[in-house]
Every structure is written in C-alpha cells, then in structure tokens.
C-alpha cells in the first residue's frame, strides 16, 4: 500500500467513526420520535426480485395437434391423441374424440409423438458458452469457497449458440447453474429457451431461485491445492456448517429487527449481506437447494446438515450413487439428477451404473435425467432411453409414459415450476414438442417446438430456425442441421 492510499484510508476511517458516532448520538436524541426509513436496498427482503423477468411469449395462434401418440408426463400414454393450445396455454388433452374448436390450426401428427417440452435441470449454457474462449469462462466464481452472493443470470450470454441447438432437441426450459468449484456456488436461474437480446427476457416468470451447492472433490481440489480450506471432505462440511450458522444468525437478526419495529420499538437494522440473503432465502423455503453430490455417503451427510439448520435439499445433481440410498431419497422427497450411465471420470464417480434411474424409480424416488453438457442437452430423450434399456436389462421394466417424466414433469418439480409446466394438462403453459416418431428412438428428431403456444422451432421451416448474432457471417452460419 503506498502512502497516499494509507492516508486516504485513514481519512475515510476517521470520517466513518465520526459519522457512526454522530448517527448513534442522533438516534438516542430522537428516541423514536422521527424514524429515518431504511433505504430500500439496505433492507433485506423488501425486494426479493430486483432483476425481474421481462419474458413475453412469442406470437402464437391456436393450434390442435391431432392423431398423435401423446405422452402427457403424468404417466399416461394416449394413442391417436389430441393436444389443443390456445393463448399460450394447453386447453385440452385427450383421445381422438376430443373436440377441436373451429378456426384452430390443425396439425396432423399421424405417426408422430407429442410430449411436454424437455426441461434440462442442469445446464451451463450461457455461462460457459460456445466458443469456449478464456474471456467467456463465466460459470465459476472460484475466488472463495462461499460465493452464495453471485447470480448465474449475471453471467448468462444470451447469444450462446448452444441455446439454438438445445431448442432443436426439444428443450424448452433450462436451469442454469453456477459451477461446482465452490461449496456455495451462487444462485441459479431458470430460463425459457427463447432467443433474446437480454437475459431478463428469457427468465421463467415466477420461477423460484436455486442455490448451487457442491459436495466432494471439486471444492476441496479447487481450494486445497491453494493451501486453503476446504482441503478435505471434513473441511467441506465445516464450510457448509459455518455458513449456515452465519445464515441462521443473520435471519435471526433481521427477524428481531422487524419484530421490534412492528412493536414500535427502536432497533438498528442489521447490515445487509448478499450471500447471506441467498442462504436466508433457503432457510425461509423460498430458494431451492440444488446440490452437486456424487457419493451416497456424502448425500446422507448433506441431509443431516439440512436437518441441523432447518432447510430442505430439493435435488442432488450427478448423483451417480443415488441407487445405494434410493429408499432414503424417496423418504426425504429429494430428486436425483443423473446421467443414464456416464461415470468413472473421477474417483467419486466410479460407482455409476446404468440401472441407477430404474432402481430409483422402483424405490419410488424422483428421477431426473440431466445433461450438464452442450451436446447431451440436445438428446436428453435418448439419454432417458438408455436408462430405460438398462432398467429392462436389470429386470425393471419402465414404460415410455413413465420415463418421459424424467425429462419433463420431474425436473419441473425440482425447479419449482410444476404448477406452470412439465406436463400436458389443461391450463398449463403450452410448452410442447412434436416429434417425428417415438422420442426414445435414435432416429427421431423434434419437428416442432412450442413455448407458451408459440412455434419457436420448426425443423422444416427456416423462418423458425433462429440464429445467434455470433454465428452470422461465420463459416457455419448457424445452420447446424440439414
């Protein structure tokens, strides 16, 4: 620190002390006669949504898909089914006798299948965009084991060309997470997969925030190799508990403050802290915990920590060992976001098995098939099919009607948006995929994708094949399929 900086710091310090002294003296003098209102940004909790969604559905016209094989996402398969969409909502789902109102565009889907829009519950699109150059590595704020105060939405680059590919794979909603370098990685954001110039125009209206937490090897490797905590698994757990302790204290201070104000007493407001705001949001049940965790024993420990501090874990991500504790996860109502059989990339991932999904399903546990990958996100339907095949081989038959929920209804539940989307039911958002055939086949492609009833992708109509700004004038021109 050079001398002028020291001098400036000293001046600031003195000024600060004087101000604080003056303020507390003034408080005492005023004694509840005049209360200066706390400026809104300093008041934790008065504005839970400072970066609101600016999403508006694209233009749509009422449409009826008829003669389709319909997988509703609720466990039902309707042969020769009908799905009707109007004003962004699903207005009817049923068999061939379902009445189609006059004036509605009719899509003859003979030989084709219809499912809810695919939801990827683990994606880094936008925060680790293509091309993966050093200046766009915006997914891991790996400067401290606890960065609960960062928000993934402030890293999303909406021009990431991977959004277009994912949409062509039927993905209508994504959970964008910060990375797993930290114990507390920050807030996730739920996006509607529509092309937009600004990220707020992709934000799923009303979706709750998530908090990314990470178990295991990544945090301890990131910090341990720097000689910092956490260096071990016990260091990880210490780090979680310390943070939750701070959060409980923080929540208590604010509650005390509000209680006193409500009683007409004077009270000093606690200092607002952006990271603790997020953790307090979890304690209050407003923010959902999305917990990267591979090993069964670590998941069990995380559940104990949640009990100790009074919060819920919504989903374990990359849970390759979830099958080992399937009944526990079922009992606790925690979802497992998994790949079909991908495993073995590192020590904590070597016990992954193809029957993970089937064993969880059999135990009545919530299964989500996720991608965490820019290529896999385009074929989540096939990833689910691989898991179905592995189940059949293990003697656990899973129907298509059940398996589609792994990539629609179940992730909707884990994202806290099951009331709005994830199934084909009257009144829900018309997030729908029309497939060229059985969605569990390698040969099948999404033909049309609807978000809130609007055609956002059409495989055979270039007007509905949006391209990112980045790809204009480049060698591929954003045309990634014939």
């Amino acid at each position: 620190m050079n001398r002028s900086l020291v001098l400036r710091a000293t001046v600031l310090l003195v000024a600060g002390v004087l101000t604080a002294f003056a303020a507390s003296a003034a408080d005492k003098a005023a004694t509840a006669k005049v209360r200066v209102p706390l400026p809104r940004p300093l008041d934790s909790g008065v504005n839970d949504d400072p970066y609101p969604s600016a999403y508006r559905p694209l233009p749509s016209q009422p449409a009826a898909i008829v003669h389709a094989t319909v997988l509703t996402g609720t466990g039902e398969q309707i042969d020769d089914g009908v799905v009707i969409m109007s004003e962004g909502r699903i207005t009817a789902v049923g068999d061939a006798t379902t009445a189609v109102p006059p004036g509605v565009r009719v899509i003859d889907a003979r030989g084709k299948w219809v499912t809810p829009g695919i939801i990827d519950a683990h994606s880094h699109l936008g925060v680790y965009p293509s091309p993966g150059v050093a200046s766009r590595q915006d997914g891991n704020e790996w400067t401290s084991p606890n960065t609960a105060g960062v928000w993934a939405e402030h890293s999303v680059w909406p021009q990431d060309p991977a959004f277009q590919r994912a949409r062509a794979g039927g993905v209508t909603t994504l959970l964008i997470l910060p990375g797993s370098a930290n114990l507390f990685g920050g807030r996730s954001v739920t996006l509607k997969n529509v092309p937009a110039v600004t990220t707020d125009a992709m934000k799923f209206p009303g979706a709750p925030y998530g908090l990314k937490m990470a178990c295991g090897e990544n945090p301890k490797r990131t910090y341990g190799t720097r000689g910092q905590t956490p260096m071990t698994n016990m260091g990880n757990v210490f780090g979680y508990r310390k943070a939750w302790l701070d959060a409980v204290r923080y929540q208590h201070k604010w509650e005390t403050y509000r209680t006193k104000l409500a009683a007409g007493e004077s009270a000093d407001p606690p200092d607002r802290d952006l990271g603790l705001d997020t953790l307090a949001g979890v304690l209050a049940g407003r923010i959902l915990v999305q917990n990267h965790c591979y090993r069964a024993d670590e998941m069990a420990t995380m559940l104990d920590i949640a009990d100790e501090f009074g919060y819920r874990i919504t989903m374990f991500h990359h849970a390759v060992e979830a099958y080992k504790i399937a009944p526990l996860l079922a009992k606790r109502g925690v979802c497992s976001a998994i790949w079909a059989e991908r495993s073995g990339t590192k020590m904590e991932a070597i016990d992954g098995i193809g029957a993970n999904a089937a064993l969880l399903q059999r135990a009545g546990s919530c299964v989500v098939i996720h991608s965490d990958d820019t290529t896999l996100i385009q074929r989540l339907n096939q990833e689910a099919a691989i898991a179905v095949g592995a189940g059949a081989r293990a003697g656990i038959p899973i129907t298509r009607a059940q398996a589609i929920a792994w990539i629609t209804a179940n992730p909707a539940r884990a994202l806290g948006i099951a009331e709005q989307t994830g199934t084909l039911e009257r009144g829900k958002m018309a997030d729908v995929v029309l497939w060229s055939g059985d969605p569990f086949s390698s040969y099948t492609l999404a033909e049309q994708v609807f978000i809130d009833g609007a055609v956002v992708y059409d495989r055979h109509d270039r007007r509905f094949q949006p391209r990112s700004d980045f790809e204009l004038g480049q060698s591929g021109a954003g045309e990634f399929h014939p």
């Binding site: 590919r165 797993s180 098995i353 064993l359 179905v388 492609l445 990634f480 014939p482």
Partner: protein, 448 residues
Amino acid sequence: MISMLRIAGLAVALSCGCAAANAASLAIVNARLETITHGTIDSGTLLMSDGRIVALGTTVQVPAGARVIDARGGTVTPGLIACSTNLAIAEINQIAETRDDGGGTRISAGFDVQYGVNAWSAQMPVARDSGVTHAVITPLVGVAEAFDDEEEHASMQGGGENAGAYNALFAGQAALLRLDASQLPVMRAKIAMALDLGQAGAQHGGGSRAASIILVKAALADARHYARNRGAYDRGATRTYGLPTFDLEALIPVVEGSVPLLIRVSRAADIRQALALARAENVHIILEDAQEAWMVADEIAAAKVPVLLDPQDDLPRSFELLGSRLDNAARLQRAGVTIAIKGSRNFNSLRPIRLNAGVAVAYGLSREEALRAITLNPARIWGIADRAGSLEVGKDADVVLWNGDPLEAMSYATNVIVGGVEQSTRSRRQELQERYSHAEDGYPPAYH
C-alpha cells in the same frame, strides 16, 4: 499359454470322439443378420467354428454337438470397432497415475501406446458390453490432461496449466486391440502416428498453425535423412536433427508410406493444409474429428483420405469449428469419403458409437452406411478388413448379438463373441447393480 489351451481343448475333443470342428462350433439361430457386405438376412443362422465364420444364411445346417444360441429375432452384427479411444491405456480420467494415453515430456513420435496396455482394465468388459470387439487406441500429446465430462470443470481447468508446455509435435504410435479373453489384446501395434494440427498443433508448435506445419515437415525431412544415413549418424558424421533417434525411427515408416499419419484437425483451412502436407510429403493420412470436413468434402474424397468423426459435433465450441454440422457424416459419405463413426474417447463415460451412428442416420446417412461406418469402414481404414468388419465366411468369428436394432438407445448387447468364444461382459457396473438389488436381509450390501 494360448497354444497350450488350444492343445488341451483339442485333446478333450479327441478323447470324447467328437469331430474337433463340431466341438468348437457355435451357432446363432433365428437372427437378423446384418452382414454389412451382403445386406440383411432375416431369420438367419450364423455358424462359427474354430474361431471363424464358416456359414451364414437361411438354410445353414447346424452340426450336431454345436452350441446353439437362439437369438429369438435379435440382430447379429460384426463386432463394432471403436476407431479412436483410450481403452486399456487410461482408467480414470482425473487420476493421473491411471493414465498412459499421453507420451509425457521426454518423447514424441517414438511414444508407443502398446506398452501401457492393461488387459485387466475394468473398462474392457464395459467396452465389450457396448458391443465393441476391436478398439484402436490412440495417444495424446504430452501428459494426458485430466478432462472432466462436467463442462464446468473442463472449463475450470482453463485449457490446462500444461498447455504449451510441451514442444512434442507428434503424439506417438497407435495400436489396435482385439477384446478377446486371452489377456493379450494387442492385435497390431504401430498402426498410425498421431499428430495434432490446427489449434492444438499450433500450441505444440510454439503458438502458430503455420509454425507447426513447418516443424512437421522438418521432422519428416530429418527422418528421411536419418533413414539413409544411420551409419554416418553413428559415426557422428551427420547434421544435427531436431528430434532424438527414438522419435526419428518411429517416423521412418511414415515417410516410407507404410504407416499413416492420424491427423487431428477441425477447420476446413487446416484440413486443406493436411491434404497438402500429405501430397507434398508423399505420406498417407487419416483425418480425425474434421468437423468442417463437409466444406472440402470433394478434395478429401479426391485425395482418398478417410475420416474418423463424431456425428454429434454441431457446436461452434472453438473458433476452428464454427462450421460444425450434424450432417457432416452424410455429406462426406455422399462425396465418396470413407468415414468411420467415433464414440466418446473415454469408455468410462462412453457415448456409444452405435448411438452416434443412429444420430448420423437421423441427419441423412443411410442406416446401411451408418452400420458400415462402425464396422467395415474402420476395419478397412485400420487394415483388418480381411479379418473383421463384416459377416462373411472365413472372417474372424467376432460378432455381437443384440436384443433389437443396435443403433437404438433401448437395445443392448446380449452376447459378445470374439474368436468364436462367448465373452464375459460382467463388469463392476453389473456387480454393483446386483449387490444393491439384493433383498433386505439385515446384512449390509458388502455381504452380497
């Protein structure tokens, strides 16, 4: 060991008085046979004896005493050929001491993956289980860097602290494995010399694509000179070379045209440079990855250069593959290029090659050509088409029985046969699944 076993088998056959051929015979009946070279045969029989295919068709008589597998309508294909992988030379990505797929810091062209092969790798049954009977194992430049299938982490490692630390241009020599139970899986060694061009090549070349090409040409010139002047070299009477002799020795078969360069390259402009290099240096090349190959498909076809590719590559993940397209495979095939379809390099988290073939079909490759691209085409590219890649009389009995269409995600291999012998596909995955499916009896899973 093998010959002893064979003799023992023969002795048993003789002592029981059966015909030796029959004792070693295996038949698959009621199968849909994907012959690759002669179309599909429905309700067919495939007869194998003494490690070879001896008959196939709808009227084949199964000899008495032959073991019979009833396919119940399942499909038989030739064993699949993984055309560029790290099988048996890398176990767990992020555990460096389990990885022998990079040549390290002291060796370049001379590196040879065959010496690091672990026949007892836990990945071998995983590979067989995915219908793979042959795998081409190819090296990487330098110390193999841990890569994570979690994208966040690949990125977290920021291109690797080691990037640029090695000036090894060549990754080294590839080998071909046959996944039989002999525990001697190396079928052929020194089958190609791997080389990165483009972005990675620029790194190894000191920071520029152009520099890497010049250095490669200089290395080939050194190899030629050294080959002609070994005696003079030993007397210390030659000019100095840019590479040690163990690297130059390995490059001699390349400059003599008996071993191809396996060139990993993405950008169309770099593919052109690779083709020009092959012409100027009179060497054979195979292209790997080649995401922008469709842009110069006719030039690749005219040069008769085969391409190993991943049909799912459709993202502009870097500035050298902005033209990635899902119909790269279909377009190359239409232009007359011989293509082989890759799966993930890593068997641990393999995107099976068969599913990549299915994706290629969805984007315009015929199903017949897609099957060929995971069987006969790689067999031809890697020089084993006389023994593998199709169901033909006289070829090795290396075949897979599937419970359905092998290109479909829900299908799986039920029987994997190598050398006429049914292989165990029992893997850690299966054992874990059985252990955790065991009925509750008060004892922890470790007892089951």
